[in-house]
């Protein structure tokens, strides 16, 4: 396990370095001038040039790259070109919002998706199966910004159960109210994925000899399903959860915007629109780290779920 982690960490460091370099180059290839964005459409060439100099974006690319890399190694991600505040501070301020949203959505998605998938599998080609497949198809087809608006119209405007602006965390009740709809919005998509994978994995497992043996021995059907079949069916589910976590974070961009929640997604869109190179670089490091960590955690969870898997 220890050797595995060291190996993965070393691999992650190389990945991170490659991503940093790639991001640095790609961001600067994309047209658009941060100085022009900051100064607005009335700025003259002299003012734009003065600001470019002040921001340091007039320096040779290689010099900027070295300065960026040396800063990154020292944990200094620079300051936002637009707000002048440290990138790390801005990222850390919103990171917990995205992490908690993703975690709650994931949990909720699994709580909905796993039982539904199992229910569909044990009722194969019957009404519950058709219904579940239809629902999961709807969940997969619905763009998250559309479902977000529908949730807001239904639960925030018509029923007034939840607020439209989901950014109040003053009390636990406020926290619950502000996370409920955004998390549900993301969870519906996650649940759709998980339902389909659980169903197909369960169908496969239910055909196995040991299930037939257990039935022949008179083990109660509920015990067979929940103790013997479902646990084995969860291995592909864990893979899917790991893979789709990145998609979930991607979907959180739109969810954060519609529900007006702070978060990495909202920050990255703002940074992209404003061509805030420093902020974008910092964000990319965070996203890369998240993907690397999630992949590593997925591997570890394999070993926990399936004792046959050895981490080496």
């Amino acid at each position: 396990m220890g050797a595995f982690l060291v190996k993965r960490l070393m691999f992650s460091a190389v990945t991170l370095f490659a991503v940093l370099t790639l991001v640095f180059i790609v961001i600067r290839i994309v047209p658009g001038d941060p100085a022009l964005v900051i100064l607005g459409d009335q700025a003259d060439a002299a003012a734009i040039s003065a600001l470019q100099k002040r921001l340091g974006i007039d320096r040779p690319l290689f010099e900027q790259y070295l300065s960026f890399l040396s800063g990154a190694v020292r944990g200094d991600w620079g300051v936002s070109l637009v707000t002048g505040r440290p990138v790390l501070m801005e990222v850390l301020a919103v990171l917990p919002w995205t992490l908690e949203l993703t975690a709650v959505a994931l949990l909720l998605g699994a709580m909905i998706g796993v039982p539904l998938g199992a229910w569909a599998a044990i009722n194969r080609n019957r009404m519950p199966d058709y219904l579940t497949r239809l629902l999961s198809l709807v969940g997969l087809s619905f763009p998250p910004f559309v479902s977000a608006i529908l949730l807001l119209i239904g639960f925030a405007l018509a029923l007034r159960w939840f607020p439209v602006i989901s950014s109040n965390r003053a009390t636990w009740w406020d926290w619950f109210q502000s996370i409920a709809l955004p998390a549900l919005n993301l969870a519906l998509i996650m649940a759709a994925y998980i339902t389909r994978v659980t169903r197909s994995a369960m169908l496969e497992v239910l055909q196995e000899d040991y299930v037939r043996t257990a039935r022949a021995k008179g083990v109660p059907w509920a015990v067979i399903v929940w103790r013997h079949a479902l646990r084995n069916a969860l291995i592909p589910v864990v893979t899917v959860v790991g893979l789709y976590l990145s998609i979930l974070i991607g979907n959180s961009v739109l969810t954060e915007i519609v529900f007006n929640r702070p978060g990495l997604g909202k920050l990255i869109i703002g940074a992209l629109n404003q061509r805030d190179y420093m902020m974008l670089q910092g964000m990319m490091v965070i996203y890369t780290l998240i993907v690397v960590v999630v992949n590593m955690l997925t591997d570890i969870v394999y070993a926990v779920v399936d004792p046959r898997v050895k981490l080496s």
Partner: protein, 516 residues
């Protein structure tokens, strides 16, 4: 007895409840943005920041709240002012007792001088070029400021009003050891004081209890950044926000106006959509081709398309209502036959194809697509390359687009629009470039002469001639003007009639209040 007791209890409850209901003093504003940008009035030129700055800062003078025309200039921090006959020396008498925010003391001439010099410095201001004609700014005494100009300019008062570089900052806040610290805790003298900034979420302002016009009735403003149009609409309907920036769409205006409890605000200055032709590139270097395009565009049709109550047809190459606009300028009329005939005369009987790099912003793109459809009828193919907004702004300044659609409002004096868009000093890709995309220079003499002309009638006549020359040369085709749309809940009383706002958002003054 029981009835009497119940009635008494009800009245008592109402008496208790009424003050509570009347005490709404927090104004929540929903702005269409991810963030307000840097909180420094001399650096923040974006639409989301302008309104916010206006609530925190004063100028030496201001335009009366609710108006956007310089005809309504009135004293702000300066009580009075005088100017020399040649318009080069201006003396302002400051009001005594105006207090800087955050207990930084009285605002004096020293602050005003510092602020104007700061506005004219490239490193600290996005508007430094506006102050190029400033020679000296001096504090004559504690309450007197003297400005000496190298040459007279069309509106000195426009440079010292609560707009762009004219916003007065307090020296102690902006001249400290941490110069970047000003944007973290900006200090002016306006009705509202900066209290808190939470990135991506909001800026909180509180009432300036020492405001010299009187303590504002609104005690707190939460300026929320809500980029999603739908979320802002829903939040307004749910009563979570009280005032919001809206969309430039007739359907949106009609829908909000029909919604009980909500009101729409439509006001100027209008942003004018102009099609600029790069006259250095074929086939647009041929005036007959430019005339053909101008004849092919139907301004009335575009007006109808963009919304009858939120737009109006353009009248000249300077937006209507500006000081110096030629309100009856000889724009080429819509005439498809004439357009086809001119193309044939220019040697293009089978039509032409012209290319435009264009922003993907929906409002601007829909205009361009409508124009594309109109041009097609005359045999002119407009080939649009859609790019993201920052890319659009960079590439049109690199002279990469044959045709540029630019939608903008400027300080409402003809000189600004004419200089930025049609004077040779502003031609793109030059050291003094601003936004002259057409490479137009036919009216340089008139634009330059009008700037220093002290006789108002002669000045206006020069601007009129300049506009006629630009139209005759067909450097650009002005098409349509779009007004701004905001919405608010009907319990909000702005305290004035809103016809215009240079800062692109409704001013929140000491008199703004909730009626219930």
């Amino acid at each position: 007895m029981k009835t009497t007791w119940l009635a008494s209890a009800t009245i008592a409850a109402l008496l208790c409840a009424t003050p509570a209901l009347a005490q709404k003093t927090t104004l929540v504003v929903g702005m269409q943005t991810q963030d307000a940008g840097v909180l420094d009035p001399h650096l923040n030129s974006g639409t989301p920041g302008k309104a916010l700055m206006n609530w925190m800062f004063n100028g030496l003078v201001r335009i009366k709240p609710g108006q956007s025309s310089p005809d309504h200039i009135e004293p702000d921090i300066a009580e009075s002012w005088t100017s020399s006959p040649d318009g080069k020396e201006w003396t302002f008498k400051l009001r005594q007792g105006v207090q800087c925010h955050h207990d930084l003391g009285e605002f004096t001439s020293e602050d005003a001088v510092f602020s104007l010099k700061r506005a004219g410095t490239k490193d600290t201001s996005a508007f430094s070029s506006d102050y190029a004609a400033f020679d000296k700014v001096e504090a004559i005494d504690k309450y007197t400021v003297k400005i000496t100009l190298k040459n007279a300019i069309p509106s000195l008062l426009g440079q010292v009003m609560s707009y762009h570089g004219g916003n007065m900052v307090c020296k102690k806040a902006a001249d400290g050891p941490d110069k970047d610290g000003f944007a973290k805790k900006p200090a002016g003298t306006g009705p509202f004081v900066f209290a808190e900034y939470v990135p991506q979420q909001y800026v909180k302002l509180v009432a300036n209890k020492k405001y010299w016009r009187g303590e504002p009735k609104i005690k707190e403003i939460i300026y929320r950044f809500i980029p999603s149009d739908a979320a802002r609409d829903l939040a307004l309907q749910a009563g979570e926000i009280d005032l919001m920036s809206g969309r430039q769409e007739q359907a949106w205006v009609d829908r909000i106006a029909r919604t009980p409890g909500l009101k729409v605000l439509t006001f100027g200055p209008a942003e004018m959509s102009v099609i600029h032709f790069n006259m250095t590139q074929p086939p647009l270097d041929n005036i007959k081709v430019r005339q053909a395009i101008a004849h092919a565009i139907d301004r009335a049709g575009i007006h109808q398309f963009r919304g009858m109550s939120i737009s109006r047809p353009a009248v000249s190459v300077v937006p209507s209502g500006y000081f110096g606009t030629h309100e009856t300028a000889p724009l080429l009329p819509h005439d498809l036959n004439k357009a086809r005939q001119l193309l044939t005369e220019a040697g293009f009987p089978n039509g032409i194809t012209i290319k435009a790099i264009h922003t993907t912003l929906p409002g601007m793109m829909s205009f361009m697509e409508a124009t594309q459809a109109q041009l097609k009828r005359a045999g002119i193919t407009l080939d649009i390359t859609p790019v993201e907004h920052p890319t659009f702004h960079q590439q049109i300044r690199q002279d990469l687009s044959q045709v540029v659609h630019f939608q903008a409002a400027r300080f409402p004096i003809a000189d600004v629009y004419l200089t930025h868009f049609f004077h040779s000093s502003s031609i793109v890709k030059t050291p003094t470039a601003v936004t002259n995309f057409s490479h137009c220079k036919v009216a340089d003499a008139e634009i330059t002469a009008a700037r220093t002309e002290q006789n108002k009638e002669k000045q206006v006549a020069l601007w009129k001639t300049a506009q006629e020359k630009i139209i005759a040369e067909v450097c650009a085709v002005p098409v349509n003007e779009m007004l701004m749309n905001w919405a608010h809940r009907d319990n909000l009383d702005l305290g004035y009639e809103l016809k215009g706002s240079l800062n692109l958002g409704p001013p929140i003054t000491e008199n703004t209040r909730f009626t219930r």
